[in-house]
Symmetry: C3
Subunit: 321 residues, 3 copies
């Protein structure tokens, strides 16, 4: 299931009981080596077994069972999943929950204390809603969703197997107004947020409803904590947005776009599928599919690296070194 | 009311029933063109009518009714407001709300489920307080305010027509202490937050109470999501702070200052009225009224652009191009 | 107690009744001068007394009692503490709180409205838990902690005298998965968050539980609002993280590290004790103990300043100045 190949057939009989990181793993634990930075810790590890790429297998301490794979972290992930399967939802309905009479909440859902669910809202099967979460009127949620505590949802349509971490705000009006010295003129926001299946939304992340069109998060996209998604943003499938990323209104990302921490995108951009944006970059222009960019403003990654080196050299010269 | 001029008198009889963006608008919808980027979408639009500036009117498809105005977005905003007027507050008091006996809550307010209102707090007329919001003791709120769900308010004085989006935190103690290796010495924070009339606070935004003086947000200022406002910050009227802006303690902004996404201001600065700060900039020094700045550290915008061009040229040279 | 020396013995009899900032202080107030920027305000101040360093004492207005100290802000902090002592916790248990029968909550705690406390959770003496806060199963909290309203805690072990401001999220699963085009493979997160004694966590800050190891925040560390702390991060004692800082997974900071606003750290770094990171910096590499760095990517502070000056000169040249 983890897709790894045992490098030592004889050791197949060893008993592995848990997963653990390199430093703390013992003889009954399986671990992994993914980052060359940790090669020394690998060599010193007491782990009974480890997922590792072939090229680093010779750094293993004697006696360690090696599970050689091209993707040690993925193999480890699957192993952790099997050791720590997600708990099933135990049907529950807190007496303190306030559920509108017109909402539909299947009996196999777990509805936490003080949850508030508005008129006409529909939940799928086996959803868990954390304590003190507020779900507005007319929200639709698919099957097997996990909505954590203290979340606010409104004006949104949510697929199946979606995970929303605590404190996320999804569906509030976006930042829409026409600036005017006599008083900015607000534009009523009338679109929705659509979260496709398998989306994961981080803690205290905010996703505004569309202004007229919808804000859309594509299937399997992973969004970390404290991320800001403006109105009408469209994300494709499998995107990865790390903590504190911000995306301004009406910017569209293709599929499998990866953005490092604190990246910002201005509005109305088109970022092609497979683009990778280095942490802290400011994307002010469209990005080609598959491009890797970094810097402020973001430029091709290798050009950015060259600019950094040039500046460094100039600074050294001035220093007489 | 929208201030536009019909470019084709004969078409005045056409029936417009809704508003919509360029791409999805049909013959019964009014739309707008504001950004030249969307000229092609304008030409292809099936909208029955559009607000547009005179210079782009000739890009319209045949048959579209043109509402020519110098400010198409503002005219559109007003039109959306008339199609989608803000819902009036329906008086309501949730049985689950816990309102201190000394608080004053007019009967025409809507108090959501599990709302908690502390001692001596005063609400104005027609306020709506979202579910699971906590309002501490001694808070004063004006008329016609909309406080969303899961908000926390304390130590604050709020004007009329103020909007607070879900998860905002207003009035908690600021980050005040004297660093000390033997244990940082905290400074009790004893000021308030004052939000003037017509202020709009984004989702999960945080505004700390003053340390002794107050933290003040001026009339009509719009603050987006996940913005951090430190203690003693003073913002003038009509400022616009985009998502994830951060302002350190005791910095003052004048009126109508605009800051793009992820801009940071260090503490104790003075930023003049009408200043504009490009997205992602780091403002480490005072900014003159009316100045436009960008970069890290922020410098005059045109100088920043020149620096970017110079670096680019140097990088190209090294590349032998 | 404030450690200052009275510069004018005769004036020791003056009655000081309150603390106040330079601008608003009157004859019965004590104030302080810490930042040379405010020397003019100091000279104009009507304060009855002021903490000040010796070098600036001659800028005082006539008649002001001077409390000369090398650390005016710290002395002022202690004075404010004595004028405004922290309120003691008044034992209280809201009828609306839902406390699992297996949780232990001492009678001297204050448990706010709608608080939810899970199975097996243990609170120390004299803790205050704000309204609508949710504490998951198995959490342990020491004595004299102040957890504000609308907070979410899970999978964490918290020391004594810890302060958590409103909306903080502590202990949710981190951003752990192996990227895969066929669907990112999530890694179950099984570690905890450990907050040592005297830690202070800002409003809407997020701290993820460890993936297997724990996420650890050292004794006396101060964390401002909207900060993101990834899984397995380890912070030493007395660190200061200003607003909107982000730390990616598995990065370790030593003791007394200071990071300005909006600083970002990528993952798996080692930052030495006493390092200082200028606001907005992006730390992509390990930082030596005691180093001061700034810029994107972060480099030694003086080199960064030199690079900024060089670019500025080049831009001026091109301009013909």
């Amino acid at each position: 299931m983890s897709g790894a190949r045992l490098s030592d057939g004889a050791a197949g009989g060893r008993m592995i009981e848990d997963v653990a990181p390199l430093e703390t793993a013992g003889p009954a634990d399986v671990t992994f080596l993914d980052n060359r930075k940790y090669t020394e810790a690998f060599t010193k590890s007491r782990a009974g077994a480890a997922f590792v790429i072939a090229a680093l297998a010779d750094k293993a301490p004697p006696g360690m069972v090696l599970l050689v794979t091209e993707e040690p972290y993925k193999a480890f992930a699957r192993t952790v999943q099997s050791f720590y399967p997600q708990e099933e939802v135990t049907p529950f309905r807190a007496a303190s929950a306030v559920i509108d009479g017109t909402a539909k909440v299947p009996a196999d859902c777990a509805i936490g204390e003080n949850v508030v669910i508005g008129a006409g809202t529909l939940l799928g099967a086996r959803c868990a809603i954390g304590a003190n979460t507020v779900i507005g009127a007319g929200v639709e949620i698919g099957d097997d969703c996990r909505i954590a505590a203290n979340v606010t949802l409104s004006h949104c349509l949510i697929g199946s197997r979606v995970v929303v971490h605590p404190g996320a705000r999804i569906g509030q009006p976006g930042f829409g107004f026409a600036p005017d010295a006599a008083g900015h003129v607000k534009v009523p926001q009338i679109g929705r947020v659509i979260l496709a299946d398998d989306v994961d939304i981080g803690a205290n992340t905010t996703i505004d409803r569309g202004s007229g069109p919808d804000t859309v998060i594509g299937q399997g996209t992973m969004i970390d904590n404290l991320v800001q998604i403006g109105h009408n943003v469209v994300l494709g499938r499998g995107c990865i947005l790390t903590g504190q990323v911000g995306i301004s209104g009406s910017t569209h990302l293709g599929d499998f776009v990866m953005a490092g921490g604190q990246v910002g995108f201005t509005g109305h951009l088109r970022v092609g599928s497979g683009a990778r944006i280095a942490a802290k970059a400011a994307v002010f222009r469209d990005v080609e599919p598959g491009a890797t960019v970094g810097g402020i403003p973001a430029i091709p990654f290798t050009t950015w690296m060259r600019e950094i080196a040039i500046l460094q050299r100039l600074a050294r010269k001035k220093d007489g070194r």
